[in-house]
């Protein structure tokens, strides 16, 4: 724990169209990737984030819950939320190669259906941003 207040400072782009909780999640991931947050470090307490960037506390809670669900941080009752010892590992190399091949095959199908690269990128971006609930409906 640091005695000098929070280790990182969040920022919000209200015009981006990206929901605020997702902006916070991305910034924590980025800070861990860059080494600004290390295992054992505490995320800024909700009460401080709220006054730092004038944000709804439920939004901060939601972002921290999402980060906890993906294993990057762990909440400790009454103490705060801390970066975990080891970040969640990426997929194994052979599994990644498999996914890569599937994606190439899919892109080929999209192209032969008449889509151009920009359209394909837009569709991928849209699918990644589709919330889980809506995703189930598309799959049905």
């Amino acid at each position: 724990m640091s005695d000098d207040g929070p280790l990182i400072r969040f920022r919000l782009d209200p015009r981006s169209g990206v929901p605020a909780y997702r902006q916070l999640v991305d910034q924590v991931r980025q800070a861990v990737r860059l080494g600004l947050l290390r295992p054992g470090d505490q995320l800024p307490p909700v009460r401080e984030v709220v006054t730092q960037i004038t944000i709804n506390p439920n939004t901060v809670h939601r972002a921290y819950r999402d980060l906890e669900a993906e294993g990057l941080v762990a909440g400790q009752q009454g103490r705060g939320t801390f970066v975990r010892a080891a970040p969640a590992p990426s997929a194994a190399p052979e599994r990644q190669a498999e996914l890569h091949a599937e994606l190439i095959a899919w892109i080929d199908r999209a192209r032969s259906a008449g889509m151009d690269d920009e359209g394909i990128r837009a569709l991928i971006a849209l699918s990644m941003r589709t919330p889980d609930t809506a995703r189930e409906k598309v799959a049905r």
């Binding site: 919000l12 209200p14 015009r15 981006s16 169209g17 929901p19 605020a20 909700v46 009460r47 709220v50 006054t51 960037i53 004038t54 944000i55 709804n56 506390p57 439920n58 939004t59 008449g114 889509m115 359209g119 837009a122 569709l123 849209l126 941003r129 589709t130 919330p131 609930t133 809506a134 409906k137 598309v138």
Partner: protein
């Protein structure tokens, strides 16, 4: 089946002044613990709604439940548990801050004097100052401080940040949000500028032309609205249950905001996730139909950001009666 008591629930609520309906057929449910933004242009009925919730005015039609109680018959019980801040923030100009604190202390059984003094200290507002000597921002802060010291379960705030400078607005919001963190108070806060509340709220109620256009969790609002850009005179393929919120044609381009649970995908159309601003404006545009105008016509342009004159509106054609949309 037992749902927790809503902070606010209304059904078929309406208020008529003379021959004009200030609010009509207003039905929504605000769960506890939310910070809800009540947005709409001036004259849309925001103050009318808040005043009825606070028991200051009586509805012409419909039902209200505030914290599970009816303002018509249980107003004393409600008043002890809510804080209401009028948009004019009426405080006695000749009184000192300390005298208002004493009023609060003697009139409210759950008064938290220490909290009130702490807030005023943080804001550097002297206890000895007379209200009339304070700036508009400081008066707003004193008024909110008095509201919060009551330790309310529900706060009804009518345009609390209008006419405040950015710093005063930020200070006010910080105190409000810290109280949400500490006490879990439910907040219903009205504004004619959604930009002031976009990151602060987690629930959105859009009022315009005296009607509720939308009332939902912010996450849900963002996840179910889509902006579609395509060629004028054409229509996108859309899921069956999709509804068009607004549609505007500018030269060769048609821009639509569509509400749909499943994502909208049409290779011929650009699909964008709209921001809350864009969604709110779409609902307000939808009310700009030709024909009989509502009372708020004059003030509408002030509400639309970055739109100082009518030139943009003159160039764009609003596709009000254009139902031809491909459905799959």
């Amino acid at each position: 089946m037992s749902e927790p008591t809503a902070a606010v629930q209304t059904s078929g609520l309406g208020k008529r002044y003379g021959r004009t309906w200030a609010l009509q057929d207003c039905s929504f449910r605000l769960p506890q613990g939310r910070v809800a933004a009540l947005v709409g242009p001036n004259g849309a009925g925001k103050s009318t709604l808040l005043r009825m919730l606070a028991g200051i005015s009586r509805p012409t039609t419909g039902e209200i439940s505030v914290l599970g109680r009816s303002p018509g018959t249980q107003i004393d019980e409600i008043l002890a548990r809510i804080g209401y801040l009028d948009q004019d923030r009426p405080l006695y100009q000749g009184f000192r801050v300390s005298e208002l604190l004493r009023f609060g202390r003697e009139l409210n059984p759950r008064w938290d004097e220490a909290r009130a003094r702490r807030h005023l200290d943080e804001l550097a507002i002297p206890f000895g100052a007379r209200i009339g000597q304070l700036s508009g921002g400081q008066r707003a802060q004193v008024a909110l401080t008095l509201c919060l010291a009551k330790q309310p379960e529900l706060l009804l705030l009518d345009e609390p940040v209008a006419a405040l400078d950015p710093l005063a607005r930020d200070d006010l919001m910080h105190i409000l949000l810290q109280t949400v963190v500490d006490d879990g108070v439910t907040v219903l806060i009205s504004s004619h500028a959604i930009a002031d509340l976009a990151t602060v709220c987690d629930y959105v109620i859009i009022l315009s032309a005296a009607r509720v256009q939308l009332a939902d969790e912010l996450d849900n609002v963002l996840a179910t609205h889509w902006m579609l850009v395509g060629a004028a005179g054409t229509a996108p393929l859309m899921p069956v249950a999709a509804t068009i919120v607004s549609s505007v044609t500018t030269g060769r381009q048609r821009t639509m905001i569509v509400r749909s649970e499943p994502p909208v995908t049409d290779p011929g159309w650009q699909v964008i996730e709209p921001s809350l601003d864009e969604i709110v404006i779409a609902y307000l545009r939808a009310r700009q139909r030709p024909g009989p105008r509502s009372r708020d016509r004059r003030s509408r342009d002030h509400w639309l950001p970055g739109r100082r004159s009518g030139d943009r509106l003159a160039r764009d054609r609003h596709d009000f009666d254009e139902p031809e949309v491909g459905v799959r």
